[in-house]
């Protein structure tokens, strides 16, 4: 790896970790109602509760909490579905884009409420400004707030003793959006506009081309292709003197897309598009925004359970796995493609070029900022991309795929990453307990059969969806029809799609044509169960823990704030991830890598 590559990874980690304590502490105070903003904006908060018939002082048991989460997200999905179907009748549609198909609308609706933001469609050719703003961007906020609310409820399960309730979802969700997401998004959006991200409501603009473009297009007569005497389709030369520039309120949506680890781009090319991500600095800000809240929540967790060392230990485990993965991704992309070297292409990094595998990457980002972005977006369940993962080298593409398959717990999505990692912590403590023959406990709570059952559900739901779904898709004609690349890479495309959907990431090996009724309906269902199957089990754990009394730690209990625990936690995550996915990965990226270096 180049010196510059190491420097960028180091700089990124340093800035990120520097922001953990200030933001994490602020969030803890916000949820405890002790922050200054709680007082300043108290009238707004009270007005929101009054208008929505919510009693903010009503505490909820876990079953109640889970129920309102489901109602709220069900209504959200219905709203996004309806807006897409009816957008042609609604305002702010200067391009007169038609209503979206039923299966695509279903997929996109679930995709956005589940914080996945998988894009089966191309934004600039499908969605009106109205749909983007009132449907998609709203769920960017609300799905993020849902994830954070659920982890706060789980933290209360640890922090409270001998109680029955885990908080009020409406209060947690409202405080998250009002005090955390909205202020951060506004600042970030303006920062992005300063770099050139667009923010307007005008119709698409037309500008002249300095050199007009000529191309061949199939000749058509009234919609029917024209053929010659032998039946071959004829084509005609077309010359275009102009370029159409898409417009729209991009920056406001871009900011929450990263901060809420949503990842659904305004445009088809997502953060590779110059209007979404115009400069290396905008790229750095976007990368920072993706992991900012997931990292800070670790500190919030430590603070709320009364021992910040517990939070730092979890954060250390995440950071360790992240650094290893980032270095691997940058290294393999910098190696380039051996097939090009034979053709007389210069892929070496030098003072004049970034070199490496540049297919699907932007010049301003080069290999380092592209591979780092890919690692960040899949460590988090964000799924924004600034380079096309489908064109990564086999092992460079294995990194993002495996990060998703680990269950999105290396930082992970906002809220969802930490609750996933805390479930892994429960499993790690359980394994340690088995080794020394003691009842396992974590943060003073005895872990018993019920918690372990629910933790197993969390760990097993997504691999089941990914592996069974991939197997079914490659066995059926409708599943194989979407594959665009031949050989092992085609299998990787399908495996990546299911990993992304079930783990609520949303990035893709985008060569896969997934905007079909088959993929739209199956991946849509995988996103729903991958999200809410896990959330219900996590809330069940919270509900079971909150009832328990604090068990005083003895000489035989494992301290969960030291290096030993960090190693145990990292090993548990990697072991579960490796045991589950090595066979599938061997069939995809590993085989492709071996073929590539053998020159086949």
């Amino acid at each position: 790896m180049t010196m510059y590559g190491g420097l960028q990874i180091g700089l990124y980690i340093a800035v990120l970790l520097g922001l953990v304590q200030p933001l994490g502490g602020y969030m803890a105070r916000v949820y405890e109602g002790r922050s200054a903003v709680n007082r300043w904006l108290a009238p707004v908060e009270r007005l929101i509760y009054r208008c929505s018939r919510v009693n903010p002082n009503q505490e909820m048991r876990w079953t109640h909490y889970a129920l309102v989460v489901l109602w709220f997200n069900l209504f959200g999905a219905l709203a996004v579905f309806t807006l897409q179907r009816l957008q042609v009748l609604l305002p702010l549609n200067p391009q007169h884009l038609p209503g979206v198909s039923a299966d695509s609308s279903f997929n996109t609706a679930i995709s956005y409420v589940s914080n996945t933001n998988w894009q089966g469609y191309g934004g600039e050719t499908t969605m009106s400004y109205f749909t983007q703003m009132l449907g998609l961007a709203v769920q960017n906020f609300l799905s993020a707030a849902t994830g954070i609310a659920v982890v706060i409820a789980l933290i209360r399960g640890f922090a409270r003793h001998a109680e029955e309730t885990i908080g009020n979802f409406w209060v947690d969700m409202t405080r998250t959006t009002l005090y955390v997401l909205l202020p951060l998004s506004t600042v970030l959006a303006l920062g992005l506009v300063s770099q050139g991200v667009i923010q307007n409501f005008t119709a698409y603009k037309t500008v002249p081309l300095l050199q007009p473009v000529s191309y061949e297009q199939p000749k058509a007569d009234g919609g029917k292709p024209v053929t010659d005497a032998a039946g071959n389709p004829l084509s005609e030369a077309v010359t275009i003197p102009e370029q159409t520039l898409p417009m729209g309120p991009v920056a406001s949506q871009e900011a929450i897309k990263e901060l809420g680890t949503n990842g659904g781009g305004f445009f088809n090319a997502n953060s590779a598009h110059p209007f979404e991500n115009p400069t290396p600095l905008s790229n750095f800000l976007e990368m920072l925004a993706i992991l900012l809240i997931p990292a800070a929540l670790c500190y919030t967790f430590g603070h709320m359970v009364g021992d910040t060392r517990q939070g730092w230990a979890v954060l250390a485990a995440m950071t360790f796995i992240f650094i290893v993965m980032a270095v691997a991704a940058v290294y393999f992309e910098q190696q380039g493609n051996p097939a090009f070297a034979a053709l007389g292409v210069d892929q070496n990094a030098s003072a004049l070029q970034s070199g490496g595998n540049m297919e699907g990457k932007e010049t301003r980002f080069g290999v380092v900022h592209s591979a780092l972005f890919a690692t960040i977006t899949t460590a988090a369940s964000c799924g924004a991309v600034n380079a096309m993962h489908d064109s990564f080298t086999p092992l460079g593409g294995l990194v993002p795929m495996w990060l998703m398959q680990l269950g999105e717990v290396v930082f992970g999505g906002v809220g969802s990453g930490l609750y996933g990692m805390l479930v892994f912590a429960i499993i790690a403590v359980f394994i340690a307990g088995l080794m020394i023959g003691r009842t396992p406990e974590y943060l003073g709570k005895k872990l018993e059969i019920y918690e372990m059952k629910m933790a197993s559900v969390v760990i097993l739901v997504t691999p089941l969806l990914v592996l069974a779904g991939t197997a079914v898709a490659v066995m059926l004609v409708a599943g194989r029809a979407g594959i665009s690349n031949p050989g092992a890479h085609g299998f990787s495309e399908v495996l990546y799609a299911w990993s992304s959907a079930a783990n609520n990431n949303g990035s893709a090996f985008a060569g896969l044509s997934a905007n079909t009724p088959f993929y739209n309906s199956l991946l849509g269902s995988a996103m729903w169960f991958g999200r809410f199957g896990v959330i219900v089990a996590v809330l069940a754990i919270a509900g079971s823990l909150v009832i328990k009394k604090r068990a005083p730690g003895g000489a035989g209990s494992l301290p969960t704030h030291g290096p030993l625990f960090v190693v145990l936690l990292v090993s548990t995550v990697l072991l579960v991830g490796a045991l589950t996915y090595v066979p599938a990965l061997a069939l995809g990226p590993v085989v492709e890598h071996l073929l590539m270096i053998a020159g086949k």
Binding site: L190, T279, D390
Partner: protein
């Protein structure tokens, strides 16, 4: 149950208004006031008329212009109305063939240029709209452009240097040359 459905419905309405209408309108208002040019697409204005966007690349195949990254958008390259990468995998024969064809085209346009071809000049960008090439890719084309325009290569090289952006803040990103701006400047040289 009704007591849970009511708040779910009203909360969605309230937050749709706040995050879906108030927030983007507020950001638009501030952005249009502070950064009007950038918020509207960073258009390059020549003689009072828009001549493209500084952020969106255009397609060049004339030897007298610097060429940008290959673009995989459909139906024509650099179609800003439908951004897209090629999504070709690293071992896909179609990718290897496409790169070989691009190398051949470059060699035919400038038979005297025998150096290895910089990678970014023969691989499609992620957006299909990449406005930049690496300084190496610009250097590779200087002789061809100078010859086609009957200019001294040194004066073209100076122009390229003037349009080369360094790492942002000295820290972030790669060195790059904005192709459209460079070509507009070349046309202004005549």
């Amino acid at each position: 149950m009704w007591n849970d459905i009511k708040p779910a419905f009203f909360m969605l309405i309230i937050w749709t208004v706040i995050t879906g209408i108030v927030y983007p309108l507020a950001v638009t208002g501030i952005a249009q006031a502070i950064f009007p040019s950038r918020a509207n697409g960073s258009l390059i204005v020549v003689n009072g008329k828009a001549a493209g966007s500084a952020l969106i690349g255009q397609h060049f195949i004339d030897p007298k212009y610097f060429w940008g990254r290959p673009s995989a958008t459909a139906p024509m390259p650099y179609n800003a109305g439908a951004s897209s990468g090629s999504n070709l995998g690293p071992t896909n024969p179609a990718l290897i063939e496409a790169v070989a064809t691009r190398i051949k085209t470059l060699r035919e346009a400038d038979p005297d240029q025998r150096n290895p071809v910089p990678i970014d000049l023969v691989t499609a960008s992620g957006s299909g709209l990449d406005p930049h090439i690496s300084p190496a890719a610009a250097e590779y084309q200087i002789n061809r452009v100078a010859e086609a325009r009957k200019l001294n290569p040194e004066s073209v090289r100076k122009l390229v240097a003037r349009h080369t952006e360094g790492r942002q803040l000295g820290l972030f990103g790669e060195l790059r040359v904005n192709v459209l701006e460079l070509n507009l400047a070349l046309d202004g040289l005549r």
